[in-house]
């Protein structure tokens, strides 16, 4: 503080202005370049605590056993409660979470799963093409078989898509994804 007081008023003004410009510039650059990392993560609470680690990791159920639509259409799709009951009619049927699912299934109530990986409306993504090309789900969705609660491990900014498309000689025409 002594040092600050020792400065003349002009020097204080200059120092203040420079500091303001410096800080402002860095805030701008930080938001511009790192904003997605800081504000982009998204880990919603699911209506039923489903663990990908248990299903895909420990029990090694393939992703497309439940997300069947991924290889058929552009949307990967969320499995219906019926699909859960296929196994859970017999496996651990008395566990409280399963009972909850079973109750909803009986009553024909929808389970409102929260979407984790969401793309903006102006992006058109086709799961089918990427699966058929032979890409692993983990390439974009991260190590999903290792986490209990799924969060957005990837911000899906355009550079991510474009970089991969360039490396694999996929089309980089804008209309491939945007209309």
């Amino acid at each position: 503080m002594n040092f600050w007081n020792s400065l003349s008023s002009t020097a204080k003004m200059v120092a203040g202005a420079l500091a303001a410009i410096f800080v402002g510039l860095h805030i701008f650059l930080a938001i511009f370049y790192f904003g997605p990392f800081w504000f982009g993560t998204h880990t919603p609470t699911q209506p039923i605590a489903f663990s990908h680690k248990l299903h895909a990791g420990t029990n090694k159920i393939p992703c497309q056993y439940c997300h069947t639509l991924a290889r058929r259409t552009e949307a990967a799709g969320i499995p219906s409660a019926e699909k859960c009951m296929n196994c859970h009619g017999y496996v651990k049927a008395e566990s409280p979470l399963i009972v909850e699912i079973a109750k909803k299934f009986e009553n024909k109530e929808p389970i409102v799963w929260q979407k984790v990986f969401d793309l903006p409306d102006h992006v058109w993504f086709n799961h089918k093409r990427h699966i058929k090309k032979g890409f692993k789900c983990q390439r974009c969705h991260g190590p999903i078989e290792k986490v209990d609660v799924v969060g957005r491990s990837n911000d899906f900014k355009m550079g991510f898509c474009i970089g991969c498309h360039r490396d694999n000689e996929a089309p980089t025409d804008c209309w491939t994804c945007h209309t």
Partner: protein, 495 residues
């Protein structure tokens, strides 16, 4: 602080005292020199000494009347309504304007071209006169250069006001981003953005470099009076002392800057003209647009300088610094430029007429049919006034010159409007022919832009010296009287 003024004209001892200071031997008998000669050549030697000159020229900066505050508040109100209208326009969308398909550019772009044009006289005139050692330039440089800087600031707003998605405008900047997308440099708008920002940097630097010695004078005055201005003046004057090293470096750098500015300025308005000429719209797609726009810009700019000079002279009683001779000389410049501009204008018609292209011929006919009033303002203000301006009694009459210069700018504004709007109302596809008048939103934003310009100027006058004092003093230093036989003439030392 003493206030001296023009009535010290005849006083011999005043002159002798000031000339003593600069140590030029005064052999002139004031009675013997005819009045005309004196009014052409004397620069600042009506002041008793340099201190008095400093006091007089710094007076607009340090002394503020109540009327000034009222004026600035009035301007702020006009600006505030403009900002509010703009906020509404941004929130709801550009539908607030009267533009529609296929008339995508309207009065905003016309005003943008007008303000870019206004910015052209200041630095061009200033650097041209500097390079050609025209002695009468000295007191008016600062006012002209400041006009350039401020009209560019105003002009730079219009592309922002006019784009559809203001919040995405940074897509135009070459910022490295993770999308690895880059602006497209083939677009004339990108050239425009580059040119205007470069011109902004150039003219601001030019203005600032010219300011440095005067800032030192103002700084000393502010410190002596313990005025609040000393804080930023100390900083901006860079500790200027006027040593021979500093002057040498300063003169050299001013020369460089004058040359560079003279290279930048014409390129800027040429590029603005390419916004139109590089399209394939009949009426815009003309090779002559580059030089035509540049000359038009200088024309409206010089007229703007004349208006400003007269207003400054009247408001701040600077009539012994900004004299009739300056107005007269600017008037002569105006005549020359007006003739060149008229040549280009007529040329455009002649080429169209000779080419027999029906769509272009129709365009001209449509102009006369739909906008006859603007056409007449343009012809009257920009072409017919050449005859009046050629008359020295008009040029030497301050009131006449004031109205003439306003008329020129009204004419040039109409010209810009006539370039942008009629062409777009009559496009290639006759099914989409349309008509257009600016809406209230557009008018209020345009009014605010004028207020903003005047506001910036008013603030500048209170913060910085408006007269190029160091340059005037240099003029006194390097000029003196020489006796040839019975005649005594003012001569100018030049390296």
């Amino acid at each position: 602080m003493s206030t001296s003024s023009g009535h010290a004209h005849g006083s011999a001892e005043h002159k002798a005292a000031f000339n003593d200071l600069t140590d030029v031997e005064d052999i002139r008998d004031p009675e013997a020199v005819p009045e005309v000669v004196r009014s052409t050549y004397d620069d600042a030697d009506i002041f008793r000494d340099e201190k008095e000159f400093n006091d007089h020229t710094l007076r607009p900066m340090f002394y503020t009347t109540k009327a000034y505050f009222i004026f600035v508040i009035a301007l702020s109100l006009i600006m505030a309504q403009g900002v509010a209208t703009f906020a509404v326009q941004t929130y709801y969308g550009l539908g607030q304007t009267n533009m529609h398909e296929p008339l995508f550019w309207g009065s905003y772009i016309a005003t943008f071209v007008f303000w870019v044009g206004m910015s052209h006289s200041g630095t061009i005139v200033s650097s041209l006169l500097r390079l050609s050692h025209a002695n009468w330039r000295r007191p008016i440089l600062r006012a002209a250069e400041a006009m350039t800087a401020f009209s560019l600031l105003v002009a730079g707003l219009f592309p922002l006001i006019h784009v559809g998605r203001l919040w995405r405008v940074y897509y135009m900047f070459p910022l490295p981003n993770q999308r690895t997308l880059w602006p497209q440099f083939k677009s004339p708008l990108m050239w425009d953005m580059m040119a205007i920002s470069v011109y902004m940097v150039g003219s601001m630097t030019f203005l600032y470099v010219g300011l440095i010695p005067d800032l030192a004078i103002a700084r000393d005055r502010a410190i002596a009076n313990n005025n609040w201005r000393q804080h930023y003046l100390k900083f901006l004057a860079l500790g200027w002392r006027g040593s021979n090293r500093e002057w040498m470096v300063y003169n050299k750098a001013s020369l460089f800057l004058a040359v560079i500015i003279l290279l930048i300025a014409p390129s800027v308005h040429t590029i603005v003209s390419w916004d139109f000429a590089m399209t394939m719209t009949p009426g815009w797609h003309t090779t002559i647009f580059g030089p035509y726009f540049v000359v038009g810009a200088i024309y409206s700019g010089v007229a703007g300088v004349v208006t400003l000079m007269i207003v400054l002279r009247w408001l701040f009683k600077l009539d012994d610094v900004i004299r009739i001779l300056h107005i007269d000389a600017l008037g002569k410049l105006l005549v020359v430029i007006a003739i060149i501009w008229t040549y280009f204008y007529v040329n455009e018609y002649i080429v169209t007429w000779y080419s027999h292209k029906p769509e272009e011929a129709h365009m001209w006919a449509w102009q006369g049919e739909r906008f006859p009033h603007l056409l007449w303002i343009m012809l009257g203000g920009s072409v017919l006034n050449i005859f009046l301006l050629s008359w020295s009694r008009v040029r030497r009459n301050v009131y006449m010159m004031f109205w003439m210069s306003l008329l020129v700018n009204a004419g040039m504004y109409s010209e810009r409007y006539l370039i942008v709007v009629p062409v777009l109302t009559r496009r290639d596809n006759p099914f989409m022919w349309t008509d257009y008048l600016p809406s209230g939103t557009e008018l209020s934003i345009i009014a605010a832009s004028f207020a903003y310009f005047i506001f910036l100027y008013a603030i500048f006058i209170k913060l910085f010296p408006i007269v190029t004092m160091a340059d005037v003093k240099e003029g006194v230093v390097i000029s003196g009287d020489m006796k040839i036989g019975r005649h005594s003439v003012r001569v100018q030392a030049r390296e």
